[in-house]
Structure formats: C-alpha cells, structure tokens
C-alpha cells in the first residue's frame, strides 16, 4: 500500500494525542496550575485535530467530510470520525469543568479516557478489518495501535512532568509501557507479517485448476491509480534498515534517554519516539500488500 504522508501523520499524531488524552482523562497528569489543564488540553486536542486535518488532506472532497460521520453503523472510518469528534468534545468539556471547578470531574474523565482508547481502536480497525490487506487483517493490529498510542501518551506525559514539575516520576511505568508496546509490535511483526495468504493469482482468476497463473500483459501499459495506490513496492533491504531505525527511535533510544536522567533528553523523548512511530507507520503501509496486486503479476 502506498504510504501516504497525510495518513501516516494522521494516524501517528492523533494516536499520540489520543494517548495523551487517555492519561489526561484518567487524571494521570501533573498539574501545577489550573492553567496547565488548559495547556495540556490544547496540546492533546491539537495533536488529535492536526492529525485529523491531515487526514482530510487525503480526501478528494474535504468539504464533504462531515458526511463521513453518518455511517457509524457499519464503517470503521465513520466510527473513527464520530469517536474522534466525541473525544475532542468531551475533552473540552472535561477540561473546562476541571478548570472552572478546580476539581477534576473524574466520571467525565473516565469517559474521555475510554473514548480516546475507542477512537484509537476504531482507527486501527479501519485497517484491521480489511481482508484485502492480509498484513493488516490480524487481531493484533488494533492492539498495536492501542499500545503505541498509550505508550506514546505516557512518554509525552513524562516529558510534560519534566517540564512542568522539573522532574519526572514516571520512569518505571514508562519503561513498562515501552516494553509492552515494543513487545506487541514485535509479535505483530512476526505474526501479521508471516501470515500465508489464501488468495493467490490462481484464486484471483479462478484458473488455478488449470495450472500456475502468471500475468502476461497488464490492461494498461503505464501505472494506473490502483497500482499507484495499492501496488507500492519497496526493496527488502530498505525495509530491514528502516525497521531497525524505527525500533531504535521508537523504543531503544527513548528507553536509554529515560534512564539517562538527563532532563533535556527526557523532554526530547516523545519527539524521538514519534519519529520512530512515523517510520513504523510508513512501514505499516509500505509493507502491506493488497490482493488486487495479484491481478497485476504479484505473488504474495
């Protein structure tokens, strides 16, 4: 699948933002001053909505985007839209109430936290429900999104605390978060990446009983939209190198920085991690193969 930057940025950034809001909802955030609530809200909501805006860039008709909220009964994309909007709204109410009351409305917080997770889940399910893309079509896919989101939030929270309080107290739990997220992703890589496709050129054409099926001539001599969108290929050695970089940036370096005790490093962790996640997300698309390519001479 073509790794479109709008989608990569969207899923990564809103994932991070939703992770933040999840912890925020749980009240698991250092607040020195009531204004910090607003500050934090702006940060989280910004991340989510910049992500959303970026995803709109991907649309042919962003002006009609509101229509995407209508099909929540069947469409994960629609559910995602609904949930994201709901999360943002609830967060705003939550933080305004908190700010005005000076007291955290914990029930509302629970709602925000839940909605955040659900939104991440819906995003992931857009991909995980596509049978046509075997690598995504795996029960672990949403867990990866969830783990990365929650972990990213935690890293950001830790940095926030470092900035606000001047020191961070989340080293241990963040470490756990990183390790879990890494583990989930690792298992996903092993499992989702090694699924054997049921679909082959033989099943795609129904001609398998006659022999091995290979493409001789494409319907068109230059690349068409389908191939551009779903026939993205990237060399194996690039994949290998990029996965190493992704792991290093997203998990290894943050871990090292976390334990370094160097405060400016700790502040930088979310950025390093995010860079890793961008690459991870790029690979998520780039490595995924769509069954339609079977009609174009690929064999998965």
């Amino acid at each position: 699948m073509r790794p479109a930057w709008s989608i990569i940025v969207f899923t990564s950034l809103s994932g991070l933002g939703l992770g933040l809001l999840f912890w925020f909802g749980l009240g698991f955030v250092a607040i020195n001053d009531p204004i910090d609530v607003i500050l934090f809200t702006v940060l989280g909501v910004m991340a989510v909505s910049v992500g959303l805006m970026s995803s709109l860039l991907h649309l042919g008709h962003p002006e009609r985007a509101w229509r995407a909220l209508s099909q929540w009964r069947s469409s994960w994309l629609s559910r995602e839209g609904v949930c994201a909007v709901a999360t943002i709204l609830c967060t705003l109410i939550y933080s305004v109430v908190w700010y005005i009351d000076g007291e955290r409305p914990s029930t509302l917080g629970l709602v925000v936290a839940t909605l955040s997770l659900v939104t991440v889940w819906t995003t992931a399910m857009i991909y995980a429900s596509l049978r046509t893309v075997l690598r995504w079509y795996h029960p672990l896919t949403p867990w990866v999104y969830l783990a990365l989101s929650v972990c990213g939030g935690l890293l950001a929270l830790n940095a926030w605390e470092q900035v606000i309080v001047g020191q961070s107290s989340l080293t241990e739990i963040t470490t756990i978060g990183l390790v879990i997220a890494f583990a989930v992703k690792l298992i996903w890589w092993k499992r989702a990446g090694n699924q054997q496709s049921e679909s082959t050129p033989e099943t795609a054409t129904g001609l398998g009983s006659l022999g091995q099926v290979d493409l001789l001539m494409s319907p068109h001599t230059e690349e068409n939209w389908l191939q551009h969108e779903m026939g993205f290929v990237v060399a194996r050695r690039h994949i290998h190198r990029l996965s190493q970089i992704a792991v290093a940036l997203a998990f290894v370096l943050p871990l090292a920085a976390l334990w370094s005790g160097v405060s400016w490093l700790i502040v930088l962790i979310p950025i390093i991690h995010f860079a890793g996640i961008l690459i991870e997300r790029w690979l998520f698309f780039a490595e995924a193969k769509h069954v339609v390519t079977l009609f174009y001479g690929e064999r998965h």
Partner: protein, 251 residues
Amino acid sequence: MTMLPEEPSAKKLGLVIDLDICVGCHACVVNCKEWNTGSEGAPLSDVNAYGAQQTGAWLNRIHTFEVKTDSTAQVVHFPKSCLHCTDAPCVTVCPTGASYKRVDDGIVLVNEDHCIGCGLCAWACPYGAREMDPVEQVMKKCTLCVDRIYNENLPEEDRVPACVRTCPTGARAFGDLGDPESDVSQLVRDRGGFDLMPEQETSPVNKYLPPREKRHLIASDRSQSESSTEQQSPDMNGFWGWVDTTLAKLG
C-alpha cells in the same frame, strides 16, 4: 445506506463472463468508458492524456494471463469489472454512505455527490473494481449501466450494459443471477461458472465461465510424440485403386 440491504434483493443483476471466448480485444473496456464518460456522473477523466504516464479512470479492464503446466501454456484474456458482490465490503466500509447496494436489483453504486474520495472502498474491494477519478476525485466503478438497462429512451434490445452490447465475440452475458431459471444462471450451471477469490467471502454476483479444455501444448511435447509415432509409407497402387473405384462409383 452504507449498510448492505438487510434482506439481499432477490434480483441480482450481474454479468457472466466467458473466459473461453474472450479474445482480449478491449472493446468492452473502451465502449464502457465511452458510454460512462458522457453519463450522469462526472466524466471518466484522463490525465497526461498526450504525455508520459498517461492514465485515467476506467470501469472495466482486460488482463492477460498465462496459465502454465509443465507441458502446456494457455493464454487467458481476463475482463474485470465490479462483481456487484452480495456481501460487498466496499459498501460497508464507506463512511459517507456514498457507496451503496441497491435494494431493488443488487447493483452496487456510488453516489458521487456524497463521496468524499477517501478511497477506502477501493481498499476494501479485492478485485480492483473501483478507481478514483483523477480530476473529480470521486470514486468510479461499474454501474452495470443502470442508466441503460432500464432506459426507456433506448430500444428494448439495447437495454443491456454497453460492454455487453458491444462485445464482438459475445463473451459477456447480462441477466438476473438471483433467478435460477434465467439464461445467465443456466449458463453458469452448464459451464461450471465460478466466483473470483471465494476466500474473500464477498459472494460476487458476476460469474466467470472457465476456458474449455484445449490442446495448447508448448514445444516440449515434440520429443514425446516423435517416439510414439511410426512412419507409414503411402501405398501408391492402393491409392490409384481407390481413385479408380471411386470414379467408377461416380460414373
């Protein structure tokens, strides 16, 4: 509407494509484009029309495959357009409801006025049957020529999809695959019509008829046959005798 109809329609209009007959001429492809680019929806546009990387939106495409065994190689021309799946994943993923499956006849359509061009339905379709229009940025797909098949402005015999009407070999048949008694259903039964990628569980309405058995040997059969035949010399006397008797009979 993005939900599939709760009760799948009894009527399932679709195409039956005969891979034994299709010669890969692309007539159906171009005629489809021609009909649909002037239709109710946005034109099926083309970009870099006269330059490099020319491309455009089409609703029907012909692939050409080679099917090989150790001793045979068979070229199969393979038309592909929307299969109007009963369990159409392209419909359920659509966030706007632009994609829908008609309650009346099962045709899967896109309401272009509502389409946001997110492309997700094309991701969900296993068959590559949906293409984004490069100019209008809305999703394009086979409409089963819904503006022909019921169109009373057309003579009755022309109320079939453009691709079916134009196909020179008659490799494409149109009809109600929900009706077991229809011609197309009959054809599917007689010829062992099959689904593409049944494992994707889309329950396509369109069916494909397999190529009949052929003698499409590749060169490697030469050695086998050489050993299995022995030379018989012509018998000249016998031949002239035969000529004589035959002429006698004529006379």
